[in-house]
């Protein structure tokens, strides 16, 4: 008897609480920037593609839904010739973002990806690439890598000394 009254009181009290349910889709929930939603490819501060096609996201992907092919441009920069994510397979685990050595691949708090046609869930590079830096501003992989590319010669990266002269005889 007592428990019945207690339950009724609990329900009654909730009439005066703030609503937790929101009127989606008219109203949107706030998702944290770290939320694991739609995957994007970002660009470095200079506007170049961050992805260097190293294949680490593809290999770590537990459902193997990322396929890409690296290529090299005339400046020696590597980029993905194609980059394809099959979102009908993706489980949004975020391991690709963990594995990415250049902060190129990032998960975003966008979850509205439903499609009437399943083939539309296959995203190509032009669908994935954004024009900004995403969650990690300021990082430029080629500024820390030893590779020389157009506009950045050997010895010009962070923490590098100028190239040695092998014909130098000084001790």
């Amino acid at each position: 008897m007592l428990s019945h009254i207690r339950s009724l009181a609990l329900v009654f009290r909730h009439l005066f609480r703030k609503n937790i349910t929101i009127q989606y889709p008219e109203e949107k929930a706030r998702l944290s920037p770290r939320y694991r939603g739609r995957i994007i490819l970002s660009r470095d501060p200079d506007g170049g593609e961050r992805c260097v096609g190293c294949q680490l996201c593809a290999v770590v992907c537990p459902v193997d839904c990322i396929a890409l092919q690296a290529a090299e441009d005339e400046n020696g920069r590597r980029f993905p010739e194609f980059f394809r994510i099959n979102f009908s397979r993706c489980i949004y685990c975020g391991l690709c973002e963990d594995a990415c050595p250049t902060y190129a691949i990032q998960l975003t708090p966008d979850v509205e990806m439903a499609e009437y046609d399943r083939p539309n869930l296959v995203y190509e590079k032009e669908d994935l690439l954004i024009s900004g830096e995403g969650k990690y501003p300021g990082y430029n992989y080629y500024k820390v890598a030893g590779l020389s590319i157009g506009g950045k010669d050997k010895g010009e990266a962070e923490n590098e000394s100028p190239p040695i002269n092998p014909k130098d005889l000084m001790p």
């Binding site: 260097v52 992907c61 193997d64 690296a70 590779l147 590098e160």
Partner: protein, 782 residues
């Protein structure tokens, strides 16, 4: 054998080895960089540190480099010793102070010995806060990419390039932490074995440049065991594929053949399989017009040309597989089958087969172990490059005996080199022009092919007076014959090399005579033929192109052969013009396909499995790795389709490669072993096929850009699957398509696949020698 104690446990070990090799062989994960099983130890990298104890009572011991410690009875060491571990970790940490943050854009990543060793040694956090030294790179030609920042100064590259391969244009410059490995100025690397730097270098300083155009990780490559199609030696290779395209060739270890190294032609010569100029549609030419037809239409059309009553002749090919040649022979019949060799090549091949009945044939390993060599007429660097590399090792054998006398172990590379200095064992070259082996030759004799043969016979007479004498020798020639005969007689394991490149049967006969005249049990002969399956096609039929020219045929079928290379243009033109229908089956356009009425697109060695027979009569199977895009198919399948269309064979008689081989061995009992060369398509590893793709292969569900994946293709010809489904490894060495073991992602994982490091593969080396051989037991030559 010696008993040694490692971390308190005793093991049996070979006393002629060093401790590093022994530890690796026993399954310990001991990191190393500068040691290489084919090049021995130099103790340069300080990575393989272990603690050695004097005796049971010694608890302090001392840190030593395992690669410089000879195994001896009672040796006590500790690999797990905390100080030794700390030392190894420290060494990697030093190496990493200057190593660039490049792995993501480095082609070595994922198969990098430095990555493996860093993980193995336990270094993970960078403490060094100062600047990294940098280097400028050099242009080293179209094959090798140079990225000097990644160097860890192990000296393996120069030890291979200069000491092992005899190169002169790669060296080490400068001092202290500025040490630089490169050429004195930019330029193409001259040595024909420069491609091995890719596998020898433990990091990404030297990488495969053609591969770099479309970089692919090792784990993403689908691979299969293959045989190099570029010369008659039949070196074993691993061919890699990704996204339906051929990507690269790697060395596949074979103890008796290529060992650890390939030549550049083998490594970089296969890009043609991706060529835009490949014929990919059946074509029909009539009245100057060319039309592309589909598979069914062209086979039906051609069936009328090969019906009974028409005279059909078939011209085989020394570069097509045994199965393809046999299929052609079945279609046209024994009498109308010509082996597609030039008249000379056919005669020489016949001669070689008869010589092989009574002499010991040298494998590449035998060649490397011989102690006196006479090369009669061949320019080996061009006709059989890997043999030239083997001879570079052979000339070390005589001076190596001095090192043995001084009790210097053969793995002690620097000490051995100090003993050898610049001395070479006897290598006599008799040729028509200068060769790239001249720098190590004891003597060179330049003469015309006929004179070379006379000298050969004269040497045979010197060695054995029963052999016929040669009249009218000049005094110079006689003296030369005496000198060569003397050196061959003195040797324990003499080797005579000749071949078909000069088109002289007499030369090969002379080489056979010399070998016969040599009294040593270990006297061997190595005879070089022109192409990958020259001996094989010669075993299937002995009529050459010259006999074909004399035939009056209605239809000529030319299998994977540009016959303009086999005779004079005039005769070939006359033959092709006189026929009503010329059918060619080939993968690239050539002068013959341009004259054909019908050309059928054939699969290349990467797209079809097949068996071939190398210069020593060793039958080996090469497996398909790239899927042929319809209507491209294996030559034997085209020939089968024609036979079925013309009602010469029942539908379903030849469905798989096994069916063709079964017919072949029934018809040629002497070749019965061909079907045992590699596991057949029914073979299973623990009831599964062997996977071409690796377990780590990525992108499975995104490659096809569809959400409904079709059933993966199946391979009726081999016990291999095209996907990662199946067994990742096989117990059959003929199917070995990848070297990997836990913690060892680089090619150095090979150590785990050998019975003893540098020895035969576990489970025996693949391939079957068709001619009887006596094996001699001797350790690998460093």
């Amino acid at each position: 054998m010696a008993t040694i104690t490692i971390d308190g446990k005793s093991y049996q070990a070979d006393a002629s080895q060093n401790l590093l090799q022994t530890a690796l062989q026993l399954g310990f994960d001991l990191p190393y960089f500068c040691w290489h099983p084919a090049m021995g130890s130099v103790g340069a990298c300080r990575q393989c540190a272990v603690r050695q104890f004097r005796d049971d009572d010694d608890t302090t011991g001392m840190i030593v480099m395992a690669c410089m410690v000879p195994v001896s009875d009672g040796l006590r060491i500790s690999i797990d010793d905390p100080e030794a571990k700390e030392f190894r970790k420290g060494v990697v940490e030093w190496l990493m102070t200057n190593h660039p943050h490049d792995c993501a854009v480095c082609d070595e990543g994922g198969e990098c010995h430095l990555q493996d060793m860093t993980v193995m040694a336990g270094h993970s956090k960078r403490r060094y806060r100062f600047q990294k030294r940098t280097h400028r790179n050099q242009y080293l030609g179209p094959f090798i990419n140079h990225e000097m920042n990644r160097c860890i100064q192990c000296y393996r590259c120069v030890r291979f390039y200069k000491d092992y391969a005899g190169g002169r244009d790669l060296d080490v410059f400068s001092s202290r932490n500025r040490v630089y490995f490169g050429r004195h100025e930019e330029g193409v690397l001259e040595n024909p074995f420069s491609g091995n730097l890719v596998e020898v270098c433990p990091t990404g300083v030297f990488t495969d440049k053609p591969f770099k155009a479309q970089p692919t990780r090792k784990w993403d490559l689908s691979t299969a065991a293959s045989i190099c199609p570029h010369c008659s030696l039949g070196c074993n290779t691993i061919v890699g594929e990704r996204y339906g395209k051929f990507r690269r060739v790697l060395n596949r270890y074979h103890h008796d053949l290529n060992g650890y190294f390939l030549c550049d032609r083998g490594r970089f010569g296969s890009a043609f399989v991706n060529s835009d100029k490949r014929s990919r549609q059946p074509q029909w030419r009539e009245n100057g017009q060319t039309v592309s037809l589909d598979k069914q239409t062209i086979t039906d059309l051609l069936a009328t040309e090969i019906l009974d009553g028409k005279k059909v002749i078939g011209i085989g090919s020394p570069r097509a597989s045994m199965e393809a040649n046999y299929a052609l022979r079945t279609l046209v019949g024994e009498d109308a089958f010509f082996n597609g060799l030039s008249e000379n090549d056919a005669a020489i091949s016949k001669q070689i087969i008869s010589i092989y009945q009574h002499t010991h044939i040298a494998s590449l390993r035998d060649a490397a172990e011989s102690d006196a060599v006479f090369v009669l007429g061949e320019d080996l660097t061009n006709t059989a490059p890997r043999l030239a590399l083997a001879l570079r090792q052979a000339v070390r054998n005589t001076p190596l005996e001095d090192a043995d006398k001084l009790k210097i172990p053969r793995w002690h590379a620097r000490a051995v080199a100090d003993v050898i200095q610049h001395r070479h064992g006897p290598l006599h070259l008799a040729s028509i022009a200068a060769t790239q082996l001249d720098d190590i030759a004891t003597s060179r004799h330049l003469a015309a092919p006929a004179d070379l043969a006379r000298i050969g016979f004269a040497i045979a007479h010197e060695l054995d007076s029963d052999a016929p004498a040669v009249a009218n020798l000049t005094s110079e020639q006689a003296a030369y014959a005496k000198q060569v005969a003397h050196d061959l007689r003195q040797a324990k394991r003499p080797l005579v090399v000749a071949g078909s490149s000069l088109g002289s049967v007499a030369l090969v006969q002379a080489a056979g005579q010399i070998t016969k005249a040599l009294k040593q049990n270990e006297a061997r002969i190595s005879l070089i033929v022109a192409e990958a399956n020259t001996l094989g096609v010669a075993l299937l039929g002995d009529k050459s192109i010259s006999s074909a020219i004399q035939e009056k045929a209605d239809t000529i079928i030319v299998l994977e052969n540009n016959i303009f290379r086999r005779s004079t243009d005039h005769l070939i033109n006359r033959m092709l013009k006189s026929a009503n229908c010329v059918i060619t089956i080939d993968h690239l356009e050539n002068a013959t396909t341009q004259q054909a009425h019908a050309s059928l697109p054939a699969a290349t060695f990467t797209e079809a499995s097949g068996t071939s027979i190398n210069n020593e009569g060793r039958a080996q199977r090469s497996f398909q790795v790239v899927l042929a895009s319809d209507p491209v198919q294996a030559s034997w399948r085209w020939l089968r389709d024609l036979m079925v269309a013309a009602n010469k064979q029942q539908t379903g008689a030849w469905e798989t490669l096994d069916d063709v081989l079964a017919s072949l061995v029934t018809e040629f009992p002497k070749l019965a072993k061909l079907s045992e060369v590699a596991p057949n398509s029914k073979w299973r590893q623990s009831s599964q096929k062997v996977a071409r793709a690796s377990r780590r292969s990525g992108g499975r569900t995104a490659i096809l850009a569809t959400v409904h994946e079709p059933k993966p293709p199946s391979d009726p010809d081999a016990p291999l699957s095209f996907t990662m489904e199946g067994n990742p490894a096989s117990s059959s060495t003929a199917l070995n398509n990848r070297y990997w073991s836990p913690g060892w992602n680089s090619v150095q994982a090979l150590n785990q696949y050998q019975q003893e490091i540098g020895g035969p593969l576990r489970g025996g080396d693949p391939g079957i020698c068709l001619f009887e051989k006596k094996r001699r037991q001797q350790r690998v030559v460093y």
